[in-house]
C-alpha cells in the first residue's frame, strides 16, 4: 500500500503550487481569448448604458441628493450664518446676531435673493416668508436710531423675539438637513430643536403611506382573484379561442389610460350608469346613491382594471408550461379534482403568482394618474403628494424625501420577496 502511494506521488510531479500556477495561466488564456467578444458585446449595449446613465441614474441621484440638501440660505446670509453657529438655542441670540441678520436681510433685498431665503425658511416654519418680506420693507423705511437691532426687529414683528424663529433659521444653515425626511414621517422640530410629532391635523404622510400600501395590496389581491381564472382559461382553451381571449386581455393596453379612467368615471359616478341602473331596478333610492367614484373604492376599481394584464400575462406563461398530465396523474393517484388543483396545480403556478403580484404591487405603489383623476380626496396615494410638492408647493426637498422613502419601501419588499420566494424563480413570460 505504502509503495503504491509513493508511486502515485512520483507519477504526479506537479506540486500544489505548480497546479495553481497552471490554473492561473488557463484563466488568463481564457480571459485573453474572450476579450474581443466581451468588447464587442459591450459596444452593443453601450447606447443603452449611456441612455440609462444620463436619463435615469443621474436624475435619480440628483433627486436623492435634493432630499437632504439644505438649500442656499447659509451662503445668502453669510454673516448670520457664521454667528448663529455658536448659538445654543436656549435663550434668544445676542445683539450682534440681530445686527448681522438685519444687514443680511437688507443685502438680500438688494440682491433680490430674499425670495429664495424666504421660500426655504418657510418649509421650516410656515409664516416666515411674510415675516422676512415685512422686515425687509420696514428695515428699508427705518431711519437710524439709537435703539438696538434687537429692539427694532422685535418692534417690526414680535416673532423675532421667539426662539422658534431663530431655531428655524439655525436649522437651514448646515449643508444637509433631515427636515424633509422628518416631514415625510410627520415629525418636526420644536422651538428647542427637539424632534416631535406633528399635531394630528397636520400629520398626513404616514397615514398616506399606509393607505398607499393598502390600496396597492387591494389592487394586487383583486388582480389575482380576477386574473387567475382568466389565465387558466387562456392556458387550456384551444388556440383560436385563446387568441381571441388574449386580445381581450391586451385590449386595455392599446387604449389610452385616460380614456379608460374617464370611462370608469362615467360608469361609477353618483349619476353614472351603475347608480342609475341600481335606482332604476329599485335597489337604491334616489336619495342614497352609492359613492363609488372620487374615493378609495374608485381608485382600486380603476387601477385593478388597468393593472390586470400585468397579473394575467406572467400567470399565463407559467400555466402554459404546466403539463396537463400532472393533473391527470394526481387524479389517477386518487386525488379529487379539488385536491389535485390545490396540491399539484396551484404550487406549480407559484412563480407566476409571485411575478404577477410583485409586478402589479410595485406598479400600483407608485401609481399617479388614476388616483389623481378618480381618487377624490380620500383616494389619493403618495405619488399624488409627491406630484403636488413638485408642481404646486415647489417643495422639491419634501417631494424627493417622500420619493426616496417610497423607493426604500419597494427595495425592502423586493429584498423580502427574494428571501422568501427567490428572484430566480420569477417568471415574467
Amino acid at each position: 500500500m505504502n509503495e503504491m502511494v509513493a508511486r502515485t506521488d512520483t507519477l504526479n510531479p506537479l506540486t500544489a503550487d505548480a497546479r495553481e500556477f497552471e490554473g492561473k495561466a488557463l484563466r488568463a488564456q481564457l480571459a485573453r481569448s474572450t476579450r474581443l467578444e466581451k468588447a464587442k458585446a459591450l459596444l452593443l449595449v453601450l447606447p443603452l448604458l449611456l441612455f440609462i446613465g444620463i436619463m435615469f441614474i443621474f436624475p435619480l441621484a440628483d433627486m436623492m441628493l435634493r432630499s437632504t440638501d439644505n438649500g442656499p440660505v447659509a451662503e445668502l446670509m453669510p454673516d448670520t450664518a457664521t454667528r448663529l453657529l455658536d448659538w445654543d438655542q436656549s435663550t434668544l441670540p445676542d445683539e450682534a446676531i440681530y445686527a448681522a441678520l438685519a444687514r443680511d436681510i437688507q443685502t438680500a433685498q438688494k440682491e433680490r435673493t430674499l425670495g429664495k431665503i424666504a421660500t426655504r425658511l418657510n418649509f421650516e416654519l410656515s409664516g416666515i416668508r411674510s415675516l422676512l418680506t415685512k422686515s425687509a420693507r420696514k428695515l428699508a423705511q427705518m431711519e437710524s436710531s439709537d435703539e438696538s437691532w434687537k429692539q427694532r426687529l422685535v418692534q417690526i414683528d414680535q416673532r423675532w423675539g421667539e426662539l422658534a424663529t431663530w431655531s428655524a433659521i439655525k436649522r437651514v444653515l448646515p449643508s444637509v438637513t433631515a427636515t424633509f425626511y422628518l416631514s415625510s414621517l410627520d415629525l418636526a422640530y420644536d422651538a428647542k430643536g427637539e424632534v416631535v410629532r406633528k399635531p394630528p391635523e397636520r400629520a398626513i404622510y404616514v397615514d398616506n403611506f399606509i393607505k398607499t400600501f393598502a390600496i396597492s395590496l387591494g389592487v394586487t389581491l383583486s388582480c389575482f382573484i380576477l386574473g387567475f381564472p382568466v389565465a387558466y382559461l387562456l392556458s387550456v382553451l384551444p388556440t383560436a379561442k385563446a387568441n381571441l381571449l388574449m386580445i381581450c386581455v391586451l385590449l386595455p393596453f392599446w387604449t389610452s389610460l385616460l380614456v379608460r379612467t374617464t370611462s370608469w368615471i362615467a360608469l361609477l359616478q353618483t349619476h353614472g350608469i351603475v347608480n342609475d341602473l341600481l335606482v332604476w331596478l329599485g335597489i337604491l333610492n334616489e336619495g342614497n346613491r352609492l359613492d363609488m367614484m372620487y374615493n378609495m373604492f374608485g381608485t382600486v376599481v380603476a387601477m385593478t382594471h388597468i393593472l390586470l394584464p400585468f397579473m394575467i400575462l406572467p400567470l399565463f406563461s407559467v400555466m402554459k408550461s404546466i403539463d396537463p398530465s400532472f393533473m391527470r396523474a394526481a387524479t389517477s393517484l386518487g386525488a379529487s379534482p379539488f385536491t389535485a388543483f390545490i396540491r399539484v396545480y396551484l404550487p406549480q403556478t407559484k412563480p407566476g403568482i409571485a411575478a404577477g403580484s410583485l409586478l402589479v404591487f410595485i406598479l400600483a405603489i407608485g401609481y399617479y394618474i388614476t388616483p389623481a383623476l378618480v381618487g377624490g380626496r380620500t383616494g389619493q396615494m403618495i405619488s399624488n403628494f409627491i406630484a403636488y410638492h413638485m408642481q404646486q408647493s415647489l417643495n422639491w426637498g419634501l417631494a424627493a424625501a417622500l420619493a426616496v422613502i417610497l423607493l426604500i419601501i419597494v427595495l425592502i419588499l423586493y429584498w423580502l420577496f427574494n428571501r422568501i420566494i427567490g428572484i430566480d424563480k420569477l417568471k415574467l413570460g
Binding site: 403539463d323 398530465s325 400532472f326 391527470r328 396523474a329 394526481a330 387524479t331 389517477s332 393517484l333 386518487g334 386525488a335 379529487s336 379534482p337 385536491t339 389535485a340 396540491r343 399539484v344 404550487p347 406549480q348 407559484k350
Partner: protein, 363 residues
C-alpha cells in the same frame, strides 16, 4: 361473477373526438387477472385513447368498459383505483421523491407510520432508497422512470396502466427498464396494460399483445404467435422485418397456394392464411431469416437464382439485399455462425424457402 371472468373488459367500445370519425372502432378486449397485455400500434391507431378510456380521462362514446365485473364508464378516474405511469413521468416537480410517493397515500388518509413504511418498501422495490429527499429535477431519466413506477404501485392498485413509459429513455436504459418492469410485474402479480409503438418492447414484456391499426385490433395473441403466425398483412408487416410481394392467386388448396407475382415471371408456393379464392389478389410475406442459401436442388418448393447487391455486417448476423428477378429488393439475414457462407456484392447464388414459411394474405 362468472368463473372465467376477465378482470378488465372492453365491450364494443367506440370513441370519436369530433363526432365525424371514429378513433376507436368496435374495440373488444378481455384481460385476465395478473396478465401483462400490451397495446401495440403506430401513432394515431387509437391505442392511447383506449388506455385513457380505461384510466377514465376519456369517455367512450359507445360500449362498456368493465373492471372486475363492474361497468366503470361513469366512475371518475380518482375512484377507479388504477395506477398509471405517464409518458413523461408526470412527477410533481415541487415535491421530493418521498412526497410524490406519499401523495396517493395521503389522499387516501393513511396514517403517518403506514405511509412511511409503504414509501420505504416502494423505494426499495425500485432500488432508489437513497434518493427519497431528492426533487425530480435532480434525477436522471431512468431514476425518474423508477419513481413514476413506484408511485403508481405504492397504493397497491390491482391494475397498472403504462403509456409509453420508456419512450424518453435511451436504448440501453430502455432494455434494462423492460426487464425491471417485467420483474416487478411477476413479483407483485398486478395486472398491467402497457401502450407502446416499439414492437421489440412489446415482444419482450408481454403475455399478450393487441396490435392496433386504424382503430381496430388487428390481432390479439402471444408474442410468439404474433411473430410466427400473423393473421393479416398489417400484422405481418408491422411485427418484425418482412419481404413482401404482391400477386394473384393461381391455385388454392387447403394449406397450399400458388401465387403468380405481378411481374408475371415467377410463381411462389405459400401458406394461405385468409385467401378468399382462386384469382384473388394476395400479399406474400416472408421473414428474411427463413431464407435458405444454396439449398439442394428439389429440397424446397421455392428456389430462385439471385445476385447479391449489398452486404452489411451487423455483428450477430449478416444482412444481404439481393436482386430477385431483377426487380425486387429482397432482404436475407444470415446468422453469424462459423460455417456461414461468404457473400460478395455481385456474386450469383441460389436461395430457397419452405412453402409454410411464406404466408399469403388477402390484399
Amino acid at each position: 361473477m362468472n368463473q372465467n371472468s376477465s378482470f378488465v373488459e372492453f365491450r364494443n367500445v367506440q370513441k370519436s373526438y369530433d363526432g365525424k370519425t371514429l378513433v376507436v372502432k368496435d374495440f373488444n378486449l378481455s384481460i385476465t387477472r395478473g396478465e401483462f397485455v400490451t397495446m401495440l400500434g403506430p401513432s394515431g391507431s387509437g391505442k392511447t385513447t383506449c388506455l385513457m378510456m380505461l384510466a377514465g380521462f376519456e369517455t367512450a362514446t359507445y360500449g362498456d368498459i368493465l373492471l372486475d365485473g363492474q361497468p366503470i364508464n361513469k366512475v371518475p378516474p380518482q375512484k377507479r383505483g388504477i395506477g398509471m405511469v405517464f409518458q413523461y413521468y408526470a412527477l410533481f416537480p415541487h415535491m421530493t421523491v418521498a412526497e410524490n410517493l406519499a401523495f396517493p397515500l395521503e389522499v387516501r388518509k393513511l396514517g403517518k407510520s403506514a405511509i412511511k413504511q409503504k414509501i420505504g418498501n416502494a423505494l426499495e422495490m425500485v432500488e432508489l432508497g437513497a434518493l427519497a429527499n431528492r426533487r425530480p429535477a435532480q434525477l436522471s431519466g431512468g431514476q425518474k422512470q423508477r419513481v413514476a413506477l413506484a408511485r403508481a404501485l405504492v397504493f397497491e392498485p390491482k391494475l397498472v396502466l403504462m403509456d409509453e413509459p420508456l419512450g424518453a429513455l435511451d436504448k440501453n436504459l430502455r432494455e434494462q427498464m423492460q426487464y425491471e418492469i417485467k420483474r416487478i410485474h411477476e413479483s407483485l402479480g398486478v395486472t398491467m396494460v402497457y401502450v407502446t409503438h416499439d414492437q421489440s418492447e412489446a415482444l419482450t414484456m408481454s403475455d399478450r399483445i393487441a396490435v392496433f391499426n386504424d382503430g381496430i385490433v388487428q390481432q390479439l395473441a402471444s408474442p410468439a404467435t404474433l411473430y410466427e403466425e400473423p393473421e393479416n398483412a398489417f400484422v405481418a408487416s408491422f411485427i418484425g422485418e418482412n419481404n413482401r410481394f404482391s400477386g394473384t392467386v393461381k391455385s388454392l388448396d387447403n394449406d397450399r397456394c400458388i401465387v403468380t407475382l405481378d411481374d408475371g415471371d415467377c410463381s411462389i408456393r405459400a401458406l394461405p392464411i385468409n385467401i378468399t379464392g382462386h384469382g384473388s389478389r394476395a400479399i406474400l410475406s416472408l421473414r428474411p431469416e427463413r431464407v435458405v442459401i444454396d439449398p439442394e436442388e428439389g429440397s424446397l418448393p421455392n428456389i430462385f437464382k439471385v445476385r447479391a447487391e449489398g452486404v452489411t455486417y451487423l455483428g450477430d448476423h449478416i444482412r444481404c439485399s439481393v436482386n430477385f428477378g431483377q426487380r425486387h429488393q429482397f432482404i436475407i439475414k444470415i446468422p453469424n455462425s462459423e460455417q456461414h457462407p461468404v457473400l460478395k456484392p455481385g456474386s450469383d447464388f441460389r436461395i430457397g424457402w419452405a412453402g409454410r414459411d411464406c404466408r399469403a394474405f388477402n390484399a
